[in-house]
Symmetry: none
Subunit: 212 residues, 4 copies
DNA sequence: TATGAATGAGCCTTCATTCAT
DNA sequence: CATGAATGAAGGCTCATTCAT
C-alpha cells in the first residue's frame, strides 16, 4: 500500500545521505544525554521532561528519535554489551593460556568501564528494572552470554590444570563483581588507568584461583 | 478551508497546464486513498501517518494536497452529495407522477451506493463527527437539502392523492434508512445490481405509502 | 501474601453489604453516564474529561469505578447483548412455528431498542472500533452468536417449508439491519411502541421470506 | 517525619500498654514487609498497593502505621545503620591494634549483611534515591559517619606504621565496596558464614594495605 | 513541490495521599 | 483504629500541523 503515488523517478532515493547522517548524529546525542541522566537519577526516576531538558528538544521532537523511554534503556545496554561481548568472545577463541585469557577479560571489562562509564552505571543500577520486565529478555540474554563466556574460560583453566576453583559460577560473579563495583569510584580521567585497574584486579583474582 | 481547489480562472497564471493537471490528479489520488482509509478505520481513528502510508507521499508532501484532515472529510462529502443532490433535484423539477418520482429517487440513491461506495460509508459513519462540529455546517446543510427535496416529493404525492402518509418526516427517514443501511452489505460488484436494489426497495416503500 | 496481618476475628468480613451496594450503584451511574456520552459523541471522541464532567467525579475517582475507558465499552456491550442473546436463545429452544419464532425475535430486538437505547446506539456506531481491536474478541463473539441463533431459526423455517430464502446469511443481516437502523429514529417514549415496531418489521420481513 | 514512633514517655497516657504493644508489633510487620518489597522491586517501583498486598492491611489501615512511603525508607535505613554504626564506633574507641580493628570492622559489616540482608539491599540500591532528595540528609549523614569512622581507623593504622595507604578515602570505599557487593551473592543461610566472609575479605584487604 | 525535523496541545493512566464515615 | 472513596498532580505517549531547508 505504501509509496503508491511516488513517481518511479524517485522511488529508489529514500532519505538522503546527508539527512540520514544528521538524524543519526542527533539520535546519538539523545542517547548520550539520556544515558547521562539515567546514570544520575535512575531510569524510573527520570521523566520525559528530564530528557527534554537534557536534550534541548521538545516533547514531540524527542519522540522523533525514540519510540519510547524503554527503547533508550535497551539501546544503552546494547551499546555497552555488544563491544564487550565481542571482545570477550574473541579472547575465548584465541589460543591464550588460561591466566592470560583471564587477564585479557579483565582488560576488556576495564575498557568498558573506561569507554562506557555511564552505560556501565546504568547497566549495574537498572538490573532489577530489567530483570522484572519481560520486554527485556534480550538484554538479560546478553548478560547471560557474557557470564557464560567467562565461565567457559575459567572452566578451561580448571581443565588444563591452571586453576583450582570450588564453584566456578561464583568465581564468575566474583570477577564481574570486582569490576562492576569499580564503577563507583573509577573515573576514565582519574589517577588510575583502565589498564592498571585491569592488571591489579587480574592479579588479585588470579592469586585467588591459581592452582598451588 | 484554506487551499481550496484552485479555480479554473487561476490556471493560466503561474503553474503550467501540465503541472496543474498533475497536481489535480495527485490530489484525486490522495482523496481516493483517504476515503478508503476513512471508510475502513473511521475518520478519528485515521492518523496522518495512515494517510502517508496509504498515499505513499511523505508528511510534507501530503500537506501540499490538503489543508488539513478535516478538509478531506468535507471534500469526500461534497463528492458524494453534489451529484446525488443534483440528480434528486432534477427529478423534483421534472413532471413525473409521484410513484415514478419516488422510484427515480431510489435509483439515484442506489447509484450513489454503487458509484460512491466508500464515500457513502464515510458519510454514514461520520455523521456524528460532522454533527458535533460547527465547522461542518455546510455539509449538514447538504444533508438537510436532500431530505427536504425528498420530503417535497412525498408531500406532493400526498397532495395529489397518490400517497397516504401519517408522518412524512418519518417516511423520509425510513426511505433514506433503507438505502443507507444497504451500504453494509451492498457491493458494487456483487450479485445484485444497483437497479435491482432500487426497484426492490422502491416496491417495498411504495407498497407501504400508496393510498389504498 | 495478601491479608497477612488481618486479625482472625475480621478475616471473613470483607467489604460490608452497605459499602458494596453503594459501590455498585455508583458504578452503575458511571456506566449509564458513559453510555450516554459514548452514544452522543462516540467512543473515540469521548475523553476522560468528558466522562469526568458527565459523572461529576474527579479523575482519580472515576478510575475507582473502571479499569480504563475500554472496559466501559466492553461492559456496555455486555449489558446490551446478554439479555438479548438470552431472550433469542430461549426462543430458539421453544417449540414455536417458524413465523412466530421470527416475530418473537423481532420483539426481542425491539425490546433491546427500547430498554437499551443508548447501548444500542453505541453498539451500532462502535462496531468498527470493536472490529479492529483484538482486545474485544469476546464482544465480536457475542455478536456472532446472535447472528448464528437467528440464522438457525431461519434455516429451520426453510427446512420445514415455511420460508424460501436464497441467501440465509444475507437475510439475517437484513433482519438485523431493519432493527438496527431503527435506532436512528425510534425513541422509547415516542409515538410508536416497541411492540408495534416489532410487528411492523416482522410483517415486512415475513412477507419477503414466506414461501408462496 | 510526622507520626514518629511514639516515645516511651507517652505510653502511660491514652492507649493501654496492650494496645500500644499491638501497634508496635504491627508496625514492625509493616516495616519488614516493606523492606522485603523494596528490596525486590525497588523503592520507586513499589506502589502503595504493593504494600497493601504485602501487609494484608487496607489503604487506610496502612497509613495508620506510617506517615508516608518515604518514612518507611528512612526507617529501614535507621534499622540498618544504627547498630552498624554503634558497633563500628565501639571498635574505634576500644584499644585494638590497627589490623585487628580493621578485621573487627569487617565482622561488623558482615553481621549487617547477615542480620539485615534486605535492608542492605535497599540501602545499596536506593542510594541514588536518597542522594538526590534533600529530605534524607539525616541518612546521608549516617553513611558519612560510617565512612569517617572507618577512615579514622585506617589513618590511625597509617600513623602507627601498620598500614601504607596512598589514598585513604579510596581505601575506605574499597573496603566498603567489597562487602557491599557481596550482598549480591551472600545469603545468611548459605554455604559461607558471615564470619568466614569477614575473615576472607579482611585478609585480602589487609594484604593490600599492610606496610611491607 | 518535497522533505522530515520539530512543535506543543492534549490524551489516557497511575499513584501517593487525604478524609468523611 | 479501620475503611475505601475521592483527590489531583504528574507521567508517558500521540498526533495534527508547521516550517526551515
Amino acid at each position: 500500500m505504501a509509496r503508491k503515488l511516488k513517481s518511479p523517478a524517485m522511488a529508489d532515493r529514500g532519505p538522503t545521505q546527508r539527512s540520514r547522517a544528521r538524524y543519526d548524529s542527533r539520535r546519538e546525542e539523545v542517547l548520550v544525554a539520556a544515558t547521562r541522566v539515567f546514570a544520575d537519577k535512575g531510569y524510573d526516576a527520570t521523566t520525559i521532561d528530564d530528557l527534554i531538558e537534557a536534550t534541548g528538544l521538545q516533547r514531540g521532537g524527542l519522540y522523533h528519535y525514540m519510540a519510547n523511554k524503554a527503547e533508550l534503556l535497551a539501546e544503552i545496554h546494547h551499546r555497552l554489551m555488544k563491544p564487550l561481548l565481542a571482545e570477550v568472545e574473541q579472547i575465548d577463541v584465541e589460543p591464550h593460556d588460561s591466566p592470560t585469557a583471564v587477564r585479557l577479560v579483565g582488560h576488556a571489562l576495564a575498557h568498558s568501564l573506561r569507554d562506557y562509564n555511564d552505560e556501565m552505571i546504568v547497566f549495574l543500577h537498572e538490573w532489577r528494572t530489567i530483570r522484572n520486565n519481560p520486554e527485556w529478555e534480550e538484554i538479560r540474554q546478553m548478560r547471560r552470554d557474557l557470564e557464560h563466556v567467562i565461565e567457559r574460560i575459567l572452566r578451561r583453566g580448571v581443565a588444563d590444570g591452571s586453576f583450582e576453583i570450588a564453584d566456578v559460577r561464583l568465581a564468575v560473579l566474583g570477577l564481574l563483581g570486582m569490576f562492576n563495583h569499580a564503577h563507583q569510584w573509577f573515573r576514565p580521567d582519574g589517577r588510575m588507568s583502565a589498564e592498571e585497574l585491569a592488571d591489579n584486579f587480574a592479579d588479585i583474582f588470579l592469586a585467588g584461583v591459581t592452582r598451588r
